[in-house]
């Protein structure tokens, strides 16, 4: 089981590309972790304009956070994070400084 939750700034990630992003997230997870680790569930939330900041300034950054099966080694996790970031930028046209991607172990409670 894999879950990702995408927090985006209003007006930055149009609804029309969210399907493509969900497909890309799923494929990145399957490629890095294996299809047998699926399914991949994806949720969304949107921060209204004027409510999101980065470095004290209005933010355009998307925050993509997920939970993946325990036991993922560093090399595999790094590959997953980088591929997710690359795909996000390719599909949305965002700069690499406009996406944060995190993937924590499923059972991590920090």
């Amino acid at each position: 089981m894999i879950e990702f939750y995408c927090t985006v700034q209003e007006g930055c990630i149009p609804d029309s590309v969210r399907g493509s992003l969900e497909e890309a997230i799923t494929q990145c997870c399957f490629s890095a972790l294996g299809e047998d680790q699926g399914p991949v569930d994806i949720g969304w939330s949107e921060i209204p304009e004027g409510f999101g900041f980065r470095g004290g300034r209005p933010s355009t950054t998307s925050i993509v956070r997920g939970r993946i099966p325990d036991g993922c080694d560093t090399e595999t996790r790094t590959k997953l994070l980088m591929s997710l970031g690359d795909e996000w930028c390719r599909i949305t046209g965002a700069g690499k400084d406009e996406v944060l991607v995190a993937a924590r172990d499923w059972s991590y409670k920090g």
Partner: protein, 142 residues
């Protein structure tokens, strides 16, 4: 990362005050930690009284016991007292700016391993192991 989510009552804080708070949170965090300013994320989430909101991973809900609540997510690896100093500093600034009392606000900072996060195309360094070039990230939007 870090990512601070401020749960606030609906229509309680103007844009100007939110902007001021976001800058203050950035000041506090960067004054204590070694993070570039451009890596400090702040979001304000308006809630109805008693409403809970999803956590950062959408896996559980945050149920604040106060009208205002700070939910922070930082890199793991700092001593607990540093985490407490950051949270207390943020709450102090929040109260200064909004004129709310300290008994109206609480918060928590959770942590995750730095290597589990990628930002600006790079895996985050562990606290205390930040290379000098990391601070070039602040030039991105300056």
């Amino acid at each position: 990362m870090p990512f601070y989510r401020c749960l606030i009552p609906k229509d309680s804080i103007s844009y100007e005050k939110r902007s001021e708070i976001a800058t203050a949170i950035t000041d506090v965090h960067c004054g204590i930690s070694a993070a570039p300013r451009n890596f400090v994320h702040v979001a304000f989430i308006e809630t109805e009284e008693g409403e809970s909101v999803p956590n950062l991973y959408g896996t559980a809900t945050i149920e604040p016991g106060t009208r205002y609540f700070i939910a922070g997510g930082n890199r793991a690896g700092r001593p607990p007292e540093v985490r407490e100093t950051i949270l207390n500093g943020i709450i102090d600034k929040f109260c200064d700016i909004t004129s709310i009392s300290h008994n109206e606000i609480s918060g928590i900072i959770t942590e995750g391993p730095a290597s589990w996060t990628m930002e600006d195309g790079q895996i985050l360094p562990e606290p205390g192991e930040e290379p000098a070039e990391w601070y070039a990230h602040d030039a991105v939007t300056d």
